[in-house]
Amino acid sequence: MGTFVMPSLGADMAAGTLVEWLKQPGDTVEHGDIIAVVETDKGAIEVEVFEKGRIDELLVEAGSAVPVGTPLARIDGEANGVKPSATGPAKPKVGTEPVRATPPRPSALLVMKGQGPRASPAARQHAAERGIDLASLAGSGPDGAIQLVDVERAECIRSEPGLGSGPDLSAMRRAIAAAMARSKREIPHYYLSHRFDLSAALEWLERYNAERPPPERLLLGALQIKAVASALKEFPEFNGFYGEEGFSPFPAVHLGTAIAIRGGGLAAPCIRHTDTLTLSDLMESLRDLVARTRRGQFRSSEIADATATVSNLGERGVESLWPVIYPPQVAIVGFGSVMWRPWAVKDEPVVRPVITTTLAGDHRANNGHRGALLLRRIEQILSEPDKL
């Protein structure tokens, strides 16, 4: 038996309001199912469940605000015969399966890819563009496949008046204020900067995109995210969380991406297992994430699990940025705009597209020597784009 508790959807979150239950007693749930919607400073967030089983009892009514950690629902473990107890968790007997604390994460993505809803490419694309979760749809196609018509139907239903359509920006601003103030107060930041020639990556990208229709093209941001994720894999002291017992590296790279929201909001949800995705899958995830984030529809795992963050000023025409670490993470990598600059190649000055990469590191967890190697590694990866 498991207890589903109010999750912490950010280091600064103390309480949340349960807006809506999406599952009812008697429903069976799978790892990754969306069970409820929780309102936080960041907006309404769809919360996933990490247990498998049947919902036994809902302990909190929709509309209640409760502190993080409050039990919200009891979930009966699947067919293991354990009866729910009325008060307090029973101590597991020696030899029985321990209460699942963390699910086996590395396989989560593969499971989703292989056994996710069967959906046509057209349906997937349409759903991704509109931020509709395929898992919430029923398919009418061959073998129950989700087709375009099913997504369009869901879209009609959703576009009817209901929950607010965008995030509450003033609340989001308060959340950013709290997190960043805590970061600057607690984290001894150090900064490194590295400028390098980006022509190999840009030429590769141009060739790649020239052969493809617009929906399949890649943005430079996808290459940067992939390069940082791959580099972090080799520098574990930059990838993880700093908690009460110090730094613990995290085995997978869930790279957060700072996404600006029109009107002044900012969120950094992550793409899970970033380093294992192909560039085209990564680009697809990124498009989906950006579209949903701008509407304030990200999932609990995306907002709470980021192990490091990338901040990218893209085409805003500024050469470099000095990012602020998002606690409890211990590193953030920034990319400035690509600038055409005089550059020395051998002993000749030439004009090259140049980018400035910066690293803000948490000195409690890592240091500048390794940080420098990390930035150099990012340069090296971006200079061999065909290996990405």
């Binding site: 997937r124 087709q147 375009l148």
Partner: protein, 324 residues
């Protein structure tokens, strides 16, 4: 406009080409005195004489090679190969000579030969006379491959084929020779583009040659079930009109390809690959195809019918794609 058969349309096209250009001549097995094994060239010997309607020995490699040589020498030969099954004897000439000489001579020589051959099954002529090998030829760079599926295309494709400075292969499905239609005497057909034979919005049926009629019949049956099928006739198997394929699939988002060739390594496989390469995100269902069963085409009528694409098979494939 006159009512003509596919056979008469091909004959008329040959006659007009020979009248228009002294360099044009026809050669092949039985094209002269016998009038062609499918009676395409009946009467032409009397009209043009043995210099221009030439019977050849049973030697596909030799007379195809002679046609290529004549083309290099400035003539405009039309070579008839009785069926594409026999053309394998001349494939060395077609592939190693006709298709390559322009390239290997650095553009100094071209080979303006037209090679016509019958293709397809359905006439109880057993395996060695019934196969559809046009997909193999569509694999070869340096040649153009045409598949006239209508009387109009049969009448209008020869002239632009003869005008093409490079080798052109025309595959005439033998089941079509008796089809009739009203056709303009001097019809002009472009040999670059596929054509939509029926507009539709729910599913694309892509086909060519002898399967067009079966496919249009399938579209009619689907219409009776409120399914609007678009039928694309490829007409040109090489170079494929990729834009037309992608346009129809992007429009309907579903597709069945009908190809009388065997499915492994087939033209249908190539079309599927291109759709996946360029139109993957528009698809709303897996692609499907109806090809010949992977056996030598049988002699017995019921077995032959079972081996070849049929209207029923096309309807069934379309319904499966639509989840009906």
């Amino acid at each position: 406009m006159t009512q003509v058969s596919y056979r008469e349309a091909v004959r008329g096209a040959i006659r007009m080409a020979m009248q228009a250009d002294e360099r044009v001549f026809l050669m092949g097995e039985d094209v002269g005195h016998y009038g062609g094994c499918y009676a395409v060239s009946q009467g032409l010997l009397d009209e043009f004489g043995p210099e221009r309607i030439r019977d050849t020995p049973l030697s596909e490699s030799a007379f195809t090679g002679a046609g290529i040589g004549a083309a290099l020498g400035g003539m405009r030969p039309i070579v008839e190969v009785m069926t594409c099954n026999f053309s394998l004897l001349s494939i060395d000439q077609i592939m190693n000579n006709a298709a390559t000489i322009r390239h290997m001579s650095g553009g100094q020589f071209t080979v303006p030969v037209v090679i016509r051959m019958a293709t397809g099954g359905g006439r109880q002529l057993a395996a060695q006379h019934s196969h559809s090998l046009e997909g193999w030829y569509a694999h070869i760079p340096g040649i153009r491959v045409l598949a006239p599926a209508t009387v109009e295309d049969a009448a209008g494709m020869l002239a632009p084929a003869l005008d093409d400075p490079d080798p052109v292969l025309i595959f005439e499905n033998a089941l079509l020779y008796n089809d009739t239609a009203d056709v303009d005497d001097a019809v002009a057909v472009d040999i670059d583009h596929a054509v939509i034979r029926r507009e539709g919005s729910d599913i694309s049926l892509i086909t060519y040659g002898g399967s067009l009629g079966k496919t249009l019949a399938a579209a009619e049956e689907l219409a009776a079930q409120d399914i609007s099928a678009e039928v694309l006739d490829l007409r040109i198997l090489r170079p494929l009109d990729e834009a037309a394929i992608l346009a129809t699939v992007s429009k309907t988002q579903r597709c069945v390809i009908v190809d009388e060739g065997w499915r492994s390594g087939s033209l249908a496989a190539e079309i599927m690959a291109r759709i996946i390469e360029h139109a993957f995100w528009t698809l709303d269902a897996p692609l499907a195809r109806v090809c010949s069963e992977e056996v030598p085409v049988p002699y017995a009528r019921h077995l032959e019918e079972a081996a070849l694409p049929s209207t029923e098979k096309i309807v069934a494939a379309a319904l499966a794609v639509l989840g009906r």
